[in-house]
């Protein structure tokens, strides 16, 4: 992780770079530095904790529904087809003893990646499973929550650590791939997401608990 001091690097919209595993810098605020005030609401920590808890609570259901909607062979051979070993996923090597700032940055990277991946998965599923309304709704809702979480993490990083820019790596875009590969990639990402969000919830909660 590389922390960029405020006001050094101009903003580049990196969240849209999704075609290949891309490393980029996400600008947290709208300017070249953290705003001096009015960025965070009073309950931002609590809201962040709840958002992570919500994602953690709904991740498994989302994954199961995703598998169900893809049909065979995903519903019966998910272990083989959805093993996330072959895909990129941002490293999340933090634990309860990790410094809070590092946790926050890792979180930011994780949810920035997830936000982009969920966008890809939603887009693919809208094309491949247009009638799976429940799945699409859940994907939309999860994406929304992730977006809110990123906003809150942005605020916390800025407020507490004056970090307004973080290097983020995004996964490979599924655009142009075969339908099967799109489904498989979504399956792999979501499976990994289930694992990592549980870990994130465990790690993040002590850091966000009210003092």
């Amino acid at each position: 992780m590389r922390l960029i001091p405020a006001g050094v690097v101009p903003f580049v919209a990196l969240l849209l770079l999704q075609r290949r595993p891309v490393a980029g810098r996400a600008l947290l605020g709208t300017g070249a530095a953290c705003p001096t005030n009015g960025l965070c609401r009073a309950n931002v920590q609590e809201q962040t904790r709840r958002q992570v808890a919500l994602l953690n609570a709904t991740a498994q259901d989302l994954f199961s529904l995703y598998l169900k909607c893809q049909g065979e062979p995903f519903s019966s051979e998910s272990d083989r087809l959805c093993t996330p070993s072959g895909i990129f996923f941002p490293p999340f090597h933090v634990n309860r003893t990790t410094e809070r700032k590092e946790v926050m940055v890792a979180m930011y990277k994780l949810f920035a990646f997830l936000n982009a991946s969920l966008g890809n998965i939603t887009r693919d599923q809208e094309e491949l499973n247009p009638t799976a309304k429940e799945l699409l709704d859940r994907l939309h809702n999860t994406t929304k929550t992730t977006r809110g979480l990123i906003s809150n993490l942005t605020c916390l990083l800025c407020k507490h650590y004056n970090i307004f820019q973080v290097d983020v790596s995004y996964g490979e875009s599924s655009k142009g791939k075969s339908a099967f590969k799109k489904k498989q990639q979504g399956c792999q990402v979501l499976r990994k997401y289930v694992q990592v969000i549980a870990q994130a919830a465990r790690v993040l909660l002590p850091h966000l608990s009210p003092a």
Binding site: Q70, G71, E72, P73, R80, R123, D124, E126, E127, L128, N129, P130, T131, A132, S178, A179, F180, K183
Partner: protein
């Protein structure tokens, strides 16, 4: 010579022609060149071939037969192609679209030809083959086509190619779409016909192994081509920006990258329209007008299955769709509103319209008198004072009207107040008081009364009609609708007005006559109170019209039992003589009193009184019977006077008396039968005079228990009988006397007879002396053992009486015959007969007894006495059933038969028989008899 030459020339020509023709018939032009290509995007075979150059030069008309074969299968396509060759020598071309992906297997083509003039086809060309992937070294199974988009209703064929040496074990659709497939070969086939949209089907193929490279996957999309955009039109709201809108039409089922794409282009400028399509309910696209005024806009919608086009040609100035007006405000009077608003585009000349919602919910449209370039206002006239209205405005282009704008936001306002119009409807109730009268005044708003604002008070003024004094006045708050004033016995003029913030209503006048005047007399006089009936949910009141009346008033109390009774009144025109009075307060069983007044010049006089019910109900209680007088055949009821006052739920019409014996149904003279709920019948007597207080029920039976009840009835009927009164009529003494006469006296006579039986018997039936007691037998000479025997030789008869044996025998046989014939008739008689035979058996045969008997056969005696006193009747016989008893009682018939026989005989015979049968005492006639 010349002719010869010509003839030879013709012959030569004919020969040449014949030779050439026979040569042409056998000419063939085989395919010299055949090449086959494939277009995988279109799944099409492109075939190119040629025949000899001579055929081109001869410009022959030729036919070609083309065959297509798949792998080693049979020929899948045969087609004949006719064409005329030209001298250019260009090769011939033909295309064939395959329904199965060309990758699935090898496809081969061959061709043969035939000139039109020739009878013979050429030899087939060699097969020209395009290899499928089944022959190539693929590293994993593959499905073709993948991600194909097909139109709903069409068929799709898919194949799965296994690696060399492998066979397809599974090949299926993960979708409810029906399909059939073929597996267990290197190329698996799957065909779905007439497909419909059911999601995006996933196709899975597996070789006979389970490793990751043994699987293949694919999808295909089922969709529809886009509809031609509906309702495509363009307009402007501000002459700066054009917005085109349209309906998308049906769902195409294609989403994401396959969804419909819209493109707008302008034909005059030959350029695409720089706008971004936004579709929610309707699609729209907006762009700046620039300087161009006339447009020919083409909208193209396209998806992988087709496209649709819509156009709109227009002059921008003719397509003005104004923005809705805003910021409304108003200037108003009590009957008019001038509505103002703002319009965003001030340079567009507009024509506007206001819609005003009346208080009754109806809408009224007001058009602006002119165009609204600078002054945006409409005058809304004809409004009611102090009334709320809701208005909204819309506008359209004054020139080249295209369509109305959206309505502005609704704006609510209220007109100004105005003095009340119309008059109050005033009524009064006069109550005599010490030194004067209390007058209770009531008022209400007439139909034509308009408050025109908020009523703040009612003003009551009264003054003497004559010798006008200073008027007295009170002001009452707006929530009052009555007041009481005291006036002396002089006539008074009273006026009542309503007042609002602006002014007063016209006064409503009422003249109270002096206490000695007609009204007073009338009110106290004994006007006959007529009964009226409820009908059609109200009470119909009619009266005799009076001349010179300008109106009639009917008043009544809605709650006559309460105080105050909620006095109501209603006015009617001078030509009215009846009215149906309805009130929500009217209920059945309550008596309402109506007074009808005639009014002339604000003076009223009582005309008639009516009383009636909306609906009469049965009386609440029964008459109270105070006294009941009983005689042998009558009962008289006395009851208290039944009240007929207003508390009763109906007008009393009379009484019903119900009588019936307790043990049986009633049937008394002069009554009607009335069936009770339990089904028993009682007699019903009706008393139609409600004033009656007594009633006598006649024709009863003495010494009988009766039940009786009395019920009062009204126009609403009567209540059901719940309790009866029970009475016992006394025993009738006359009947007792008669009974004594008929029963006791004969009984006494019989008793006396029995008491004097011996004398009677001796008189009527003298004792028959026993022969054994005869003194004759006292002599020892007549004894043989214990038996005393009278020997004829011992007697010296002094007189000889002959017994007619033949007559006796005849009589006996007749009796027996009669018995036999009776036996044949009925069972009862049979029983009787049997009993009689037994009786005879028991009676007549001699039974061993210690006493000696001498038997005389006398039928008259034996038959009768056998029933009454036969000493040989056994208890068993007495205990028999009724039938036998009847048989016993029947026995005198035996005797009667004899009498009957006697009746059929001549009087002389009968007399003779009687004399023959008569017993002749041996006391008197010694030794004259016979032993039986």
């Amino acid at each position: 010579m010349m002719n010869h030459f010509v003839f030879l020339a013709v012959l030569l020509h004919l020969r040449t022609w014949c030779t050439a023709y026979s040569q042409q018939e056998s000419l063939v032009f085989p395919v010299t060149y055949l090449n086959v290509h494939k277009d995988l995007a279109l799944q099409r075979l492109l075939v190119e071939w040629d025949v000899g150059k001579s055929a081109h030069n001869a410009e022959l008309v030729m036919s070609f037969e083309i065959q297509v074969r798949r792998a080693d299968e049979a020929i899948v396509w045969t087609e004949f192609l006719n064409t005329t060759l030209d001298k250019s020598g260009k090769p011939l071309r033909w295309m064939w679209d395959s329904d199965l992906p060309l990758e699935c297997m090898s496809h081969s083509v061959r061709i043969r030809s035939k000139a039109e003039a020739s009878k013979n086809w050429s030899q087939w060309s060699l097969w020209e083959t395009i290899q499928g992937l089944d022959t190539s070294n693929i590293t994993e199974p593959k499905i073709f086509p993948d991600e194909k988009i097909i139109e709903e209703g069409f068929d799709i064929s898919l194949c799965c190619i296994a690696r060399k040496g492998q066979i397809i074990k599974e090949f299926f659709l993960n979708s409810p779409i029906p399909y059939f497939n073929r597996t267990n070969s290197q190329v698996g086939l799957l065909i779905a016909k007439n497909v419909t949209f059911k999601g995006v089907p996933h196709v899975l193929c597996r070789e006979s192994c389970h490793e990751e490279n043994c699987f293949a996957h694919a999808v295909f999309f089922v969709g529809r081509p886009p509809d031609v955009p509906h309702d495509f039109s363009c307009q402007t709201q501000n002459m700066r920006e054009i917005t085109c809108t349209w309906d998308q039409g049906r769902d195409t089922y294609l989403y994401g990258s396959h969804s419909s794409k819209y493109k707008l282009s302008e034909q005059f400028s030959k350029s695409s329209v720089p706008c971004t399509v936004n579709c929610s309910e309707r699609c729209s696209c907006s762009w700046d007008i620039g300087k161009q005024r006339i447009y020919n806009v083409t909208l193209t919608v396209e998806n992988p299955l087709g496209k649709g086009i819509a156009t709109d040609v227009f002059d921008v100035a003719h397509r003005i769709y104004p923005l809705p007006p805003f910021q409304q405000w108003e200037e108003y009077t009590d009957g008019e509103i001038e509505l103002h608003w703002e319009q965003k585009e001030k340079e567009i000349e507009l024509f506007c319209q206001a819609e005003v919602y009346q208080p009754d919910g109806k809408a009224k449209l007001y058009n602006s008198s002119g165009t609204q370039l600078y002054g945006n206002r409409i005058t809304l006239g004809g409004l009611q004072p102090y009334t709320s209205y809701t208005a909204r405005v819309r506008c359209g282009a004054a020139k080249h009207f295209w369509r109305w704008s959206e309505w502005s936001k609704a704006h609510t306002f209220r007109t100004k107040e105005k003095a009340p119009s119309g008059k109050l409807d005033v009524w009064r109730k006069i109550t005599p008081a010490l030194w004067g009268r209390n007058v209770t005044l009531f008022w209400k708003q007439e139909a034509d009364f308009q408050a025109n604002g908020e009523i703040i008070s009612y003003e009551v003024t009264w003054e003497k009609v004559v010798n006008r004094s200073k008027p007295e006045h009170i002001s009452l708050s707006s929530d009052c609708n009555s007041t009481r004033i005291f006036i002396d016995n002089h006539p008074y003029r009273i006026s009542v007005m309503a007042r609002n913030n602006v002014g007063y209503s016209h006064p409503s006048m009422l003249i109270i006559p002096g206490a000695t005047d007609t009204e007073k007399r009338l009110s106290k006089s004994e006007l006959k109170e007529e009964h009226v009936n409820g009908t059609d949910g109200g009470i119909l009141i009619s009266w005799k019209p009076r001349d010179k009346s300008d109106s009639y008033i009917i008043d009544w109390c809605n709650f006559p039992m309460l105080q105050p009774c909620d006095l109501q009144w209603k006015r009617f025109g001078p030509d009215t003589s009846s009215a149906l009075i309805k009130s929500a307060a009217f209920v059945p069983g309550v008596r309402y009193n109506f007074h009808i007044y005639a009014s002339a010049a604000n003076r009223v006089s009582l005309l008639e009184k009516k009383t009636g019910y909306l609906k009469e109900l049965p009386p609440r209680f029964d008459p109270d019977v105070k006294k009941v007088e009983l005689s042998y055949h009558e009962v008289t009821l006395y009851w208290d006077p039944y009240p007929t006052d207003e508390i009763h739920p109906g007008f009393l019409r009379g009484y019903h008396v119900y009588v019936s014996p307790v043990q049986e149904d009633c049937n008394l003279k002069g009554s009607k039968k009335h069936v009770l709920a339990g089904g028993s019948v009682v007699c019903k007597f009706t008393i139609e005079n409600p004033e009656e207080k007594t009633y006598t029920v006649k024709h009863l039976t003495s010494n009988t228990k009766y039940k009786l009840a009395i019920k009062a009835y009204t126009g609403g009927g009567e209540t059901p009988i719940i309790n009866f009164r029970y009475i016992d009529t006394p025993l009738d003494s006359d009947m007792l006397y008669l009974l004594v006469l008929l029963v006791v006296v004969p009984s006494l006579i019989m008793a006396v007879c029995l008491w004097k039986m011996k004398r009677v018997k001796d008189c009527c039936c003298p004792v028959i002396p026993s022969p054994n007691k005869s003194k004759v037998l006292s002599f020892k000479e007549f004894k043989i053992g214990t038996e005393k025997v009278l020997k004829l030789s011992d007697c010296i008869p002094d007189t000889l009486a002959l017994d007619n044996k033949a007559e006796a025998k005849k009589l006996r046989s007749r009796s027996l015959m009669s018995s036999t014939s009776t036996e044949d008739k009925t069972d009862d008689q049979n029983l009787s007969s049997v009993y009689r035979n037994k009786n005879e058996e028991r009676s007549f045969p001699s039974t061993p007894t210690p006493q000696t008997h001498t038997w005389f056969e006398n039928f008259a005696y034996s038959s009768h006495l056998a029933v009454e006193t036969n000493p040989y009747e056994t208890p068993e016989t007495l205990e028999r059933g009724n039938e036998e008893v009847s048989a016993v009682l029947y026995q005198p018939q035996y005797y009667l038969n004899i009498l009957n026989d006697a009746s059929t005989s001549s009087p002389g015979e009968a007399a003779g028989r009687k004399s023959n049968l008569r017993y002749i005492s041996q006391t008197d006639v010694h030794c004259i008899g016979r032993r039986l």
